[in-house]
C-alpha cells in the first residue's frame, strides 16, 4: 500500500475525505473542517516527496498534528493578549536565570517522579516518548506483554499529569 509522491497521497485523501473531515470536525475544527483540510493539504503537498508506507495513517497523523499546531498558535496568541493586559506578570518578563532555574527544577521533579515508579516504567516511558518506539516494539524488546507495557505507560502518564497539576498550582 506504499504511495509515492503527492499524487498518490492526494488520491488517498480523496478516497478518505469523509473520514478525515469527520475526524477534523470532532478534533476541534467544527464547521471549518473543509477549510482546515484544504490548508492541511497545502502543507502536505509541499512536503510529500518521500514514499509514505501507510498513506491513510499518514494523513490522519498529519491532521492530528495540524490541529495541535492550530491549538498552540491560538493559545500563544491569547496568551500574548493576556500578557498585554497584565503587564509585568508574564513569564517572559522573568529574568532568564529564573526561567532556567524553574526548568531545571521541573526536570528534577519529572526525573524523580519517574524514578519512583521503578526503573522499568521509567525506561518504558522514555523509549515511548523520547525515542518514539511503539508499544509492540517495546514489548518485544523487554519480553513483556503488550498490556503490561500499556499499564506501565498509564502509570507514568497518570503520575506525570498529577505532577504537572501540582507544579502549576504551587
Amino acid at each position: 500500500m506504499e504511495t509515492h509522491g503527492s499524487s498518490g497521497l492526494h488520491a488517498t485523501l480523496l478516497d478518505n475525505r469523509g473520514r478525515l473531515l469527520r475526524f477534523l470536525a470532532a478534533r476541534g475544527a467544527g464547521s471549518d473542517a473543509e477549510d482546515v483540510l484544504h490548508d492541511l493539504w497545502q502543507k502536505i503537498a509541499v512536503a510529500a516527496d518521500r514514499p509514505v508506507a501507510d498513506p491513510v495513517s499518514y494523513l490522519f497523523r498529519a491532521a492530528e498534528n495540524h490541529m495541535r499546531d492550530i491549538r498552540r498558535a491560538t493559545f500563544s496568541r491569547e496568551k500574548r493578549q493576556l500578557d498585554w493586559h497584565e503587564l509585568g506578570n508574564a513569564p517572559e518578563d522573568e529574568p532568564v536565570g529564573e526561567r532556567i532555574f524553574i526548568a531545571r527544577e521541573q526536570l528534577q521533579h519529572v526525573q524523580a517522579a519517574l524514578a519512583a515508579l521503578g526503573s522499568r516504567v521509567d525506561h518504558v516511558f522514555r523509549r515511548y516518548r523520547l525515542d518514539g518506539v511503539g508499544q509492540a516494539e517495546i514489548a518485544s524488546e523487554l519480553g513483556m506483554s503488550l498490556s503490561s507495557v500499556e499499564k506501565d505507560l498509564q502509570k507514568a502518564y497518570r503520575t506525570l499529569a498529577e505532577l504537572r497539576t501540582k507544579l502549576n498550582t504551587e
Binding site: 478534533r27 476541534g28 501507510d54 492530528e64 511503539g134 498509564q154 502518564y157 499529569a161
Partner: protein, 73 residues
C-alpha cells in the same frame, strides 16, 4: 453522558497515550469517542498537553543524565 470526571480524564489519557504510538491506527475510534461530547475534546487536549509537557522537559536532559540506571542520583 454522565461519565464521572475522573473516568473521563482516564479515558482521555488512554487515547492521548495510544495516539502517541507511531503505529496507532484507530482514528475512526478516536473520532467516535470525540463526537460523544465536547468535554471529550477538552479532556483529550489536556491529556495531550500533559504528555507533551513531560516529554519536552525530559528532552532537555543533559546527555550524561539520559540513562538513569547507570547513574547514582
Amino acid at each position: 453522558m454522565t461519565t464521572h470526571p475522573s473516568e473521563l480524564t482516564e479515558a482521555a489519557r488512554l487515547w492521548a497515550m495510544r495516539v502517541a504510538d507511531p503505529s496507532f491506527g484507530d482514528w475512526d475510534g478516536l473520532t467516535r469517542w470525540l463526537e460523544i461530547s465536547p468535554a471529550h475534546l477538552a479532556a483529550y487536549e489536556a491529556a495531550v498537553q500533559d504528555g507533551e509537557w513531560a516529554a519536552a522537559i525530559l528532552a532537555s536532559e543533559a546527555p550524561a543524565e539520559k540513562d538513569p540506571s547507570r547513574h547514582q542520583r
